[in-house]
Amino acid sequence: MKDGIEPELARKAWLGLLARSPATRVTGLMADRPAFDWLRAPEVGSTMVRGRAGGTGTPFNLGEITVTRCALRLPCGTVGHAYVQGRDRNHAEAAALVDALMQTDAAPRIRAAVLEPLEQEAGTRRQHRAAKAAATRVEFFTMVRGEDR
């Protein structure tokens, strides 16, 4: 993975997508699972989320989120990691498997079967919210005032 910034960016993108996606979707799309060994069995913990004073200034601790992480190895030796939001161990397992398989010859199949649907659904959700928000955008107009007549 260290042979360039490109594969690292791609991996970063799919790990993020898997973490943000609903657990039921990730586990549902990754129902067919190959054999693997645990390097670190799924573990539920937390991450302290930080903000910045004034949005851009000094960092401060806002509060924690629940996170589940795990690491596993395929028979071929490829290692998959996952950090996913929430407390669903199955979600973490499915995400780590996707991460591992995406580094193998199975990548095109996994991309089409798991990542693309997740990406599309996330895009639709985002789009739908943006469209509802846009409908509540205020269109100001100025009334004709008496002295203008």
Binding site: R50, Q85, A133
Partner: protein, 362 residues
Amino acid sequence: MYVAVKGGERAIENAHAWLAEERRGDPGIAALTLEQIREQLSLAVNRVMAEGSLYDPDLAALAIKQARGDLIEAIFLIRAYRTTLPRFGGSVPVDTARMNCMRRISATFKDLPGGQVLGPTFDYTHRLLDFKLAADGQAPKAPTREAAPSHVPHVTEFLNREGLIEEAPADDTPPPDLTRAPLELPASRALRLQALARADEGFTLGMAYSTQRGYARNHAFVGELRIGTVPVEMDIPELGFSIEIGEIEVTECETVNQFKGSKTEPPQFTRGYGLVFGQTERKAISMALVDRALRWEELGEDNQGAPAQDAEFVLYHGDNIQATGFLEHIKLPHYVDFQSELELVRKLRREAGADTAGDVAE
């Protein structure tokens, strides 16, 4: 003084059984599911996440159900659960300029890039009870308008261009964490913001309101209020780079406050900041007002002796779990304490020659 006493076990067990029965209510009525609480009482869920200081809507829904809707009890449950979790690390500070906004308004600028987006707000509702809701749960479909998701710049950026508002330059000081080290004074702004983000909404609101009524008045305008989702990113040592580990909904409020200038600062607008988990705008605005009031010293303002300027007062009394813990413990058995008080009062009365009507029954 505390001594061990026994004898309450059966009464306690039976009380808990009755509590469980009362929690369920009339068994002829369908039980609430966690999904129903999460989806239909989402603002209660948001408050429990914010003040419980743990973002997990399913857990907050469970806590609300278990607490029979007592939100402070639910926050207590979340805080207790939180302490059982191993901490994997701290996130990269969330970038609220990249927020996917569902709501974004400014009270200071009418026409601003990105516009005034109202979102699903109670504002402008007539606050009349809607009896249609009692009859059925049908919701109208929210209208949509074609739009590309985009990021909108912060309002303060416009004022920054003219140098009219104080800047908030980025730094990377690791923030202090009051969940790891006891709160000590003087508290840095980072520590104050953490305490305020998880402080009781009612307390924070009362403090903020006091500044508006003239106690440390600082003339706040809501420069910007935005609600939306931001990704949470964390460095993962085993990967050697950072990844997004989730996405949270937050409310951010930036106030723009009048400032005459001081010995060190020119006249310009100053800022208060509020950032809270979930859709929690009353709390976020309150937080920003109290944050601004607490900044009097660094801005070279006068100490007017107002409660909202007193960091010790605000920070030590704003946490509803600490407060309720201490407040409610006085209802637990204090028989021995009280016995000694009783003895003392009797003695004093005897000495004063006042004790003629006989003792209090023992």
